[in-house]
Amino acid sequence: MTKFHLLLASALLCSLGTAQAQVDGTLKKISDTKSITLGIRESSFPLSYLDANQKPIGYHIDVCMAIVEAVKTRLQNPKLEVKMQAVTSQNRIPLMVNGTIDLECGSTTNNLDRQKQVAFAPTTFVTNVRMAVKKASGITDLDHLGGKPVATTTGTTSVALMRANEKGKSIDFKEVYGKDHADSFLMLETDRAVAFVMDDNLLAGLIANSKSPSDYALVGAPLSIEPIAIMLRKDDPQFKGLVHATISDMAKTGALTKLYNKWFLAPIPPKGINLNFAMSDALKALMAKPNDNPAEMYNTKK
């Protein structure tokens, strides 16, 4: 019996040794520390946010957990510890670069500038930048905003987008800036702004969670289309290969569509709201042909 155990242990050690010998980069780090750290967001509804018990949940958290399972299989270590680290739009890239987090499961736009610092998984969500308005205002298009205050959030891509549109269409609106999405929405709610320009999934979430959701509407043609993806470290072909293979498989087998339906077309915590946010054509195309193209390939440069 003892001999058998010893044999088993040595066999296990050997297999573990070979598994470790084959890996480098992030996989080696995970294997050495026996833990993987996921960067999560606290209020990127419904991609990555905290539930009533402060537990991170969301569409991208589920996708990341599928990647974690694939990592466990690859390293033959089913007992990998999964750590969660809250990140913000300000610190997510530095924390990825310096090794604090191994995967960022939030709501990060994949664009060329960011690709200088980090790499991205295949796109798992496509957001359209649109505007939320009060229905009573009668505003349905960007052209209606001349001379009116329009809100967006500091430190987001929408700030530049608004200015570019203002220039291109020579509409003169007054930009007002909230320090986070909740503040920007408060500006719309209190009539400080007549419209709030932001990613449509975030706007849908804010409206659904507001005091009277039926007062608001999402209107206008998209100002920009942005691929949202899980972020990983640059120059790490082994880990990137694993992440890409996992997500491509999920897309092709329909597992990803199932997850999408769970978070966007069914009641979700904390309030049991159903976003009723049908999958966009752009995302449907990605399910058939997953890729990690940057935002620049979705929008023709003005």
């Binding site: 530095p94 430190g155 570019a164």
Partner: protein, 245 residues
């Protein structure tokens, strides 16, 4: 750490126009300095009045000064700013409120410097009071004895001496005005912190460069304030009074 340094980022044009990030930084510095100086004027004027009121014989006036200081000193600056920005317009009559919220020119800037000025005024008031109370009681009595009224005693005897004593702590408050002006980004003023945050986003994560440059500018602003006050201190110095230099 595998960070992609790029100091040239400041000479790149922003994605949505033909300005450079350097132009943004200069623009941001302009607003930071404007908010701080405007707030400092309010703080100095109201702080002097309220600080003086805390030392007058009349109980009612003393109470006003006391209430002012306790209110503006005990509520966090950020909270005060949000109250002025989000709450006060809701309490005005509807038409006025809408005007303040939508049509008032430079509403974010005005809200920010008024809030910062009032907050700082409470701190200045405490120093003015301390300066007045640091003077020997005989000074006030001497003023009254030669026939000055209370107001004249303050104007010609007490305040000229008190202000000289409190120049060093006022220097710190002046420097704080620059540093505290950063809260203005939360209501959307394009000052240094706003520019810094926006740069991180638009450059795709040149975080360190975007933080270091505004940091250095804050240091320079605060140091300039410090040096200006040092000049005033030397000019106003009365030989033989308080400290010999």
């Amino acid at each position: 750490m595998n960070y992609h340094w790029n100091w040239n980022v400041f000479f790149q044009t922003i994605p949505s126009g033909d300005e450079t990030y350097l132009a943004w930084i200069i623009h941001g510095l302009g607003w930071t300095v404007s908010i701080s100086l405007a707030a400092w004027v309010i703080a100095l004027v109201l702080g002097s009045v309220m600080g003086t009121l805390r030392t007058v014989p009349n109980t009612g006036l003393r109470l006003i000064g006391h209430a002012w200081v306790e209110f503006f000193r005990n509520v966090p600056l950020l909270m005060q700013l949000f109250i002025w920005f989000f709450v006060v317009p809701e309490m005005l009559p509807r038409d006025w409120g809408m005007w303040v919220k939508q049509d008032m020119p430079a509403k974010e800037f005005i809200t920010a410097f008024v809030a910062l000025g009032l907050f700082t005024s409470a701190r200045v008031a405490e120093q003015v009071r301390a300066g007045i109370q640091a003077l020997p009681r005989g000074q006030r009595n001497a003023g009254l004895a030669i026939g000055f009224t209370q107001a004249q005693t303050y104007r010609y005897v007490i305040l000229p001496m008190a202000f000289r004593i409190i120049i060093p702590p006022l220097t710190s408050e002046f420097m704080n005005a620059f540093k505290n002006s950063g809260v203005a980004y939360t209501v959307g003023v394009w000052e240094l912190i706003f520019v810094s945050r926006q740069m991180v986003e638009e450059t795709g994560g040149q975080v360190i460069e975007s933080l270091i440059v505004p940091t250095v500018l804050y240091i320079l602003c605060a140091y300039a304030a410090n040096q200006l006050m040092a000049v005033i201190d030397r000019r106003a110095h009365v030989p033989g009074f308080i400290v010999a230099k």
